[in-house]
């Protein structure tokens, strides 16, 4: 696995954790907590939930640590658990279950249109009124969980296609295709939002 002293230390913590030593799991939490928290924050976008979800992920990781077979780095294995956990969260959490504009009910799309057509005197476009940041946040919130995870890993976490493939347990080419489709769907959603004006 790892040959550096840090890696050797981590290996020891992992092996001890696999034997049920909870104290050895503490340093692993300290080492990887920030990356897991970042992924959770970018995917869930709810400050009040981030800490609890991160904790749930580490508990799940400890429960399943015996299934870790050292084929990938511990960090990648942990991120896979985090991504799966967030995926389940996004799918089941009703608040996150927002859809693409074109998939919305008539009532939902009317509400969104009203937001887009809110009073403005300067003739500014929707993009100018809603900053790019807010717009992308909204588009992400409406994206299906699968698109959201792959986009967050690439665009916000700045992971390479190879890393994403390892985390999501997919082939590199599959990741490329899914990434392209996710981007395209997001842009189509943006177009529909513009056309609704």
């Amino acid at each position: 696995m790892q040959s550096s002293p840090q890696g050797a230390q981590e290996l020891e913590w992992v092996l001890r954790s696999q034997k049920g030593d909870r104290e050895a799991f503490g340093p692993l939490v300290e080492r990887h907590e920030r990356r897991v928290r970042s992924l959770v924050f970018h995917l869930v976008r709810r400050h009040d939930e981030v800490e609890d979800i991160t904790q749930e992920i580490f508990i799940k990781a400890f429960k399943n640590i015996r299934s870790y077979n050292f084929q990938s780095s511990f960090g990648t294995w942990l991120m896979r658990i985090a991504a799966n956990h967030c995926y389940d969260y996004l799918r089941h959490e009703s608040k996150a279950r927002v859809r693409y504009f074109w998939q919305m009910t008539e009532e939902g799309s009317r509400a969104l249109e009203q937001t887009a057509e809110s009073p403005r005197e300067d003739g500014a476009s929707i993009e100018e009124r809603m900053s790019a940041r807010d717009l992308v946040e909204k588009l992400l919130a409406r994206a299906p969980a699968q698109d959201r995870i792959i986009l967050v890993l690439k665009e916000l976490e700045d992971r390479s296609v190879e890393e994403i493939a390892a985390i999501l347990n997919l082939r590199v080419n599959t990741v490329k295709v899914r990434l392209h489709r996710a981007r395209k769907r997001m842009l189509e959603d943006l177009d529909r939002l513009r056309q609704a004006r």
């Binding site: 034997k19 049920g20 909870r22 104290e23 799991f25 503490g26 340093p27 939490v29 300290e30 907590e33 920030r34 928290r37 970042s38 924050f41 970018h42 400050h47 981030v50 800490e51 991160t54 904790q55 580490f58 508990i59 400890f62 429960k63 993009e127 900053s131 790019a132 940041r133 807010d134 717009l135 992308v136 946040e137 588009l139 992400l140 986009l151 665009e155 916000l156 700045d158 990434l179 392209h180 981007r183 395209k184 997001m186 842009l187 943006l190 177009d191």
Partner: protein, 162 residues
């Protein structure tokens, strides 16, 4: 190049200045220009989101996780662990045994897997057919008996006389 390929190429040049052939296409294709503009807007939004600071963990987060492990994950008893491992091996062994028996039952007698010994042990096919036929059953059983001279069930002197 078709518009679809141009748009895919734009994804490849994510944030990097597009090459001349792409810019030329964008100059004359309104649809791709709109795609590129949207892509630029979305990229800017992602960039702004990525720059947002991730909330810090509360003090003692790791210790809290370890403490909660004590509540949610029970201590692993070595004896229990041994039994669990032994039980798992017993299940695997039973599965292998069951598969072997099943394979033995499923493999047909004429299969090369059975070998020629099976064929040698079974009676001749003609004899089998005759035995199952109610008319020739008696003849078949007579024919299967050893020749009179070799019969051992007869006491000395009871055999056929020439």
């Amino acid at each position: 190049m078709r518009c679809r390929e141009i748009q895919e190429a734009l994804d490849e040049f994510n944030g990097i200045k597009a090459p001349v052939f792409l810019r030329e296409h964008l100059d004359r294709c309104r649809s791709c220009r709109s795609y590129a503009e949207s892509r630029r807007l979305v990229r800017a939004g992602f960039k702004a989101l990525a720059e947002e600071p991730v909330p810090e963990a509360s003090v003692g987060f790791a210790a809290r996780v370890v403490r909660s492990l004590e509540e949610t994950v029970g201590r692993v008893d070595p004896a229990w662990e041994f039994l669990e491992r032994a039980g798992r091996r017993a299940v695997y062994a039973s599965l292998v045994l069951a598969m072997t028996v099943l394979l033995g039952l499923l493999v047909p007698s004429w299969s090369p897997l059975r070998g020629s010994s099976t064929l040698e042990l079974s009676p001749a096919p003609q004899l089998q057919a005759a035995e199952s036929d109610p008319i020739f059953a008696d003849d078949a059983s007579l024919n299967s008996q050893p020749p009179p001279g070799n019969r051992k069930d007869l006491a000395p002197g009871q055999g056929p006389k020439n």
